[in-house]
């Protein structure tokens, strides 16, 4: 992987989620995903299975395909 990728991966993920704006952020918070790392945790518990994870994203917050992909 590139140095850029390594730098990105090495830094703490902080509290922001790419692709999630105000409205979806609110919906996520209401369902307990009030920190970016909780969303990451859900992805990991689903074994990084993108279909399953998108199922959760759509089910929980009605994210559309693009948003859940982001």
């Amino acid at each position: 992987t590139s140095q850029k990728h390594q730098d990105f991966v090495a830094e703490p993920m902080g509290e922001s989620l790419a692709g999630i704006g105000e409205v979806l952020g609110k919906k996520l918070e209401e369902r307990g995903f009030d920190k970016a790392y909780v969303v990451l945790g859900q992805f990991l518990v689903l074994k990084k299975d993108e279909d399953l994870f998108q199922g959760v994203a759509k089910g929980h917050i009605g994210a559309n395909a693009k948003q859940s992909w982001d």
């Binding site: 945790g41 859900q42 518990v45 689903l46 074994k47 279909d51 399953l52 199922g55 089910g59």
Partner: protein, 43 residues
């Protein structure tokens, strides 16, 4: 979908394995999703 709610996490995991549905651990944050996957599979 309600009849899955009576299954234990381990029983639900056994059904997922039986149906070859890819899954991780059945825990609080994933259980509902897996129940839905089994329902979709059966219907």
């Amino acid at each position: 979908m309600d009849d899955y709610a009576v299954l234990s996490d381990a029983e639900l995991a056994a059904v997922l394995r039986q149906y070859n549905i890819p899954h991780g651990p059945v825990v609080g944050s994933t259980r509902k999703l897996y129940e839905k996957k089994i329902f979709e599979y059966e219907t």
